[in-house]
Amino acid sequence: MGSNGIRDRVAIVGMGCTRFGEHWDSSAADLLVDATEELFAATPVVNKDDVDAYWLGTLASGQSGMTLSTALCPDYKPVTRVENYCATGSEALRNACYAVASGAYDRALAVGVEKLKDSGFSGLVRSDPPGDGTAAELSLTAPAAFSFLDPAYCARYGVHENDMREAMTHIAWKNHANGALNPKAQFRSGVTKEQVEQAQVVAGRLGVLDCSGVSDGAAAALVVPAEEAHLYTDRPLFIKGLSLVAGAAGGASDPAYDFTTFPEVVHSARDAFAQARVTDPATELSLAEVHDCFTPTELVLMEDLGFAERGRAWKDVLNGAFELTGRLPVNPDGGLKSFGHPVGASGLRMLYECWLQFRGEAGQRQLDDPRLAVTHNLGGRPGNCVSFVAVVGPDRAG
């Protein structure tokens, strides 16, 4: 087995991220231009002609590299479109990083974009190949699939449903409070715990305020070799570990799976932490951006990522461990919940918060001297998903 990683071989030296939200006046092409122009404006030593290759992540806002090339008009450069469910933005980053690490390119741009608000529908709209009509995913919506976590977690750990409800509410409340401090977040107002619990029910015990925001947005990252990073910026972000795993839908078909964990997350975290030489994520990390698509997802991720002991995350959540002032701030930018979830952009948006935090540019959300961060991006649903974990930091090991 050789997941060797590319620890400290590439760096992010420029980023851009649009405000996430309902951009009725912007197309996917507009959002791509906005995110990349912001990046170039903030990184004056480089311009579009200096980019050697592009990786575009989008779930459903365009097909092929042409989606980017027709919007940005690069001069006959390679553009690859990638898609990996809700981990699409991270997949664009991962491929751009490997392209630079391989030596094939000096400067690669990873861009993610999603334009969800043009469909007129609530939530995500699937685009499936012709099938026999028997797949559970066809009828069961994402909030319904993730709502399975709630009763399963209560049953496994003997957690009273009121305590579980309180923990889910706390996560929504926390991420909205963080997002309220973020000028680029979709939802810039806090919510009370009463509002969370009285929101219209969507699926199971999940209400509207247990769900991430459906939004439009784009984010971009410029990847260069680590040894050249300081030519572009005095505060680069170094890639320490990158892992992506795809499950075999094991949990969806195996009675042994109990819906209290994402084995895909456990495996990707183990791989990324090994690459980054992280042995105790709960104490070594300064912050984590995780895939809080629904409130119980964030709860379970705290255990799968090793931030909390099995069966105890709900207590840690309620004790404030993952708040801005807690022992390990989680989703300081508001997360999917409050920043919004334009699918193809979300993985890069997570990285954008790490970028700001390491540079001391996170405004009211700024953490004290962050040294190591994780981004975690999930695509699919419990029992049937892909998971991405990155470890990033502002320092390059000697």
Binding site: V125, D132, T134, L138, T141, A203, P255, Y257, F259, A269
Partner: protein, 483 residues
């Protein structure tokens, strides 16, 4: 194939839902009546109810002796498709051999007797099934009913009831009619039909009694699409023990079948049953119940099925039947099922047959080539689970999903002996489901998209009487991967 002279097995199916007639009347300011109307769920049609009845019939037979010698004849006035044999879907759902003949006998109430005659002639199975619609406020809406029945025919030696005599009369009468595709039937003045049919019925009763050697019936079952006819003819043909009509109200092509199934539920060995079905003529049968009836009765008598209904609000029922257009959720309509993948996976989609790994025993739903348990390739055998029971591992109520009748209840089902799949739950109120609830399977129509019906299986909360209610041996739960 030799002519089969008896009913070897039978079953009736009464759908779960009921609309209170009082509520119908209150909503429209129309004429009321006592009791409730039996209605099919929004995920039921003549094909799925036919499967219910036929599967219940086959379940009364010994394992390995379940394929009818003759054909499968599906009778209905409400075919799910035209230009495509609905009997083929029933045949697939029952997992019958491809060599079995299956065809529809569709169009009128008399199609039920046509299927009966065809099946009786070749030792086959008659499946009679109908969803009867009527315009809001109509007599058909109020006094009709939905349901299905199935009869398997064979040698008199194996019969639960012999066919002693059978006669028919035919007449062209404009009493009931409906243009193909029309919502509701027309009916001429009821008394016209009564007068026109009475002499036919009288001749048929005389003829069948003569042919049966002059026996007086212990039971009489009299059905007709014309309520006045049914009432009048009962006076001509009373049974010594019972005289009954349709148990659910006029049920189209299933009417006579449900009536006979109900009579067989009650009849004693040696009893005779006179069956009169008055529709576009008159069909008369004399049956004699044999000693085998005691051991071969269907486990859920029609009368019992009638007692365990779930009330559905009248407006919801109207929406189910397409008589009230409801605001759809802000979700895209599902795609229609595609022909080639549905055909490739027909045993999966229609007969809920998975694959069991010969190396490690892992049960795959749907079938897979590479084992999720041990990664062995192409070493699987089919694993039919349509008659299996299972347990709810977890569940949810989805208010956002596209559904003809929201909310959608979905549950992850772990099957006894292996296999897991996520299925919709049929005929259920959310409060009846919890982790650990025992379920069996039922064949349903999930939705219709672009004129194509999406048939698949749903979970249904197991009846405490069902064999699947108790789990044989709880599977030891392996620990999930916690890294």
């Amino acid at each position: 194939m030799s002519s089969a002279n008896g009913i070897v097995a039978y079953a009736g199916y009464v759908p779960r839902y009921r609309v209170q007639r009082e509520e119908m009347a209150a909503g429209l300011g129309a004429q009321s009546g006592p009791g409730a109307r039996v209605v099919a769920g929004c995920d039921e049609d003549s094909t799925t109810m036919g499967v219910e009845a036929a599967a219940a019939l086959l379940a009364t037979l010994p394992e390995g002796d379940r394929a009818p010698a003759g054909g499968l004849y599906l009778a209905t006035t409400s075919p799910a498709y035209a230009d495509k044999a609905n009997a083929a879907a029933v045949h697939a759902a029952l997992d019958l051999p491809s060599s079995a003949f299956a065809a529809d006998v569709a169009g009128s109430a008399r199609s039920g007797m046509a299927a009966w005659r065809a099946a009786a002639a070749d030792g086959g199975m008659a499946v009679m099934s109908d969803v009867r619609r009527g315009l809001p406020g109509s007599g058909d809406e109020r006094t009709g009913g939905d349901g299905a029945a199935a009869f398997l025919f064979g040698d008199a030696d194996h019969a639960v009831a012999e066919i002693v005599a059978q006669v028919s009369e035919t007449a062209e009468i404009l009493d009931r009619w409906r243009a193909p595709g029309g919502v509701a039937a027309g009916q001429w003045e009821e008394r016209f039909g009564v007068e026109a049919y009475q002499p036919l019925a009288e001749r048929a009763v005389r003829a069948v009694t003569d042919a049966a050697g002059g026996v007086a019936p212990d039971h009489a079952v009299v059905v007709s699409p014309n309520p006045g006819v049914a009432k009048r003819v009962r006076r001509l043909a009373a049974g010594a023990v019972s005289t009954t009509g349709s148990p659910v109200g006029h049920a189209g092509a299933a009417d006579v079948g449900l009536g006979v199934a109900d009579a067989l539920d009650r009849a004693q060995p040696g009893d005779t049953i006179l069956v009169l079905s008055v529709a576009d003529g008159c069909d008369a049968l004399m049956l004699r119940v044999t000693d085998r009836i005691a051991a071969a009765r269907q486990p859920h008598p029609v009368a019992d099925q009638l007692t365990c209904g779930i009330d559905v609000p009248y407006p919801t029922y109207l929406a189910w039947r397409g008589l009230l257009e409801r605001e759809p959720p802000r979700r895209p309509e599902p795609d229609r099922p595609a022909g080639p993948p549905s055909a490739r996976g027909a045993r999966w989609k229609f007969a809920f047959t998975g694959a069991r790994c010969l190396q490690c025993g892992f049960v795959h739903l749907p079938p897979q080539r590479v084992c999720k348990g041990c990664r062995a390739v192409d070493d699987m055998v089919p694993c039919p689970l349509a008659r299996s029971a299972g347990t709810v591992a977890t569940y949810t109520v989805d208010h956002l999903a596209f559904s003809p009748s929201p909310p959608l209840i979905e549950a992850v089902i772990d099957f006894d002996g292996g296999g897991r799949y996520t299925l919709e739950v049929a005929d259920a109120a959310p409060e009846t489901i919890t982790v650990g609830t025992r379920v069996t399977l039922t064949f349903r129509m999930l939705y219709t998209s672009h004129g194509v019906h999406n048939y698949f299986w749903k979970a249904r909360v197991a009846d405490t009487q069902e064999p699947g209610y108790r789990q044989a041996t709880p599977d030891a739960k392996r620990g999930a991967d916690h890294g």
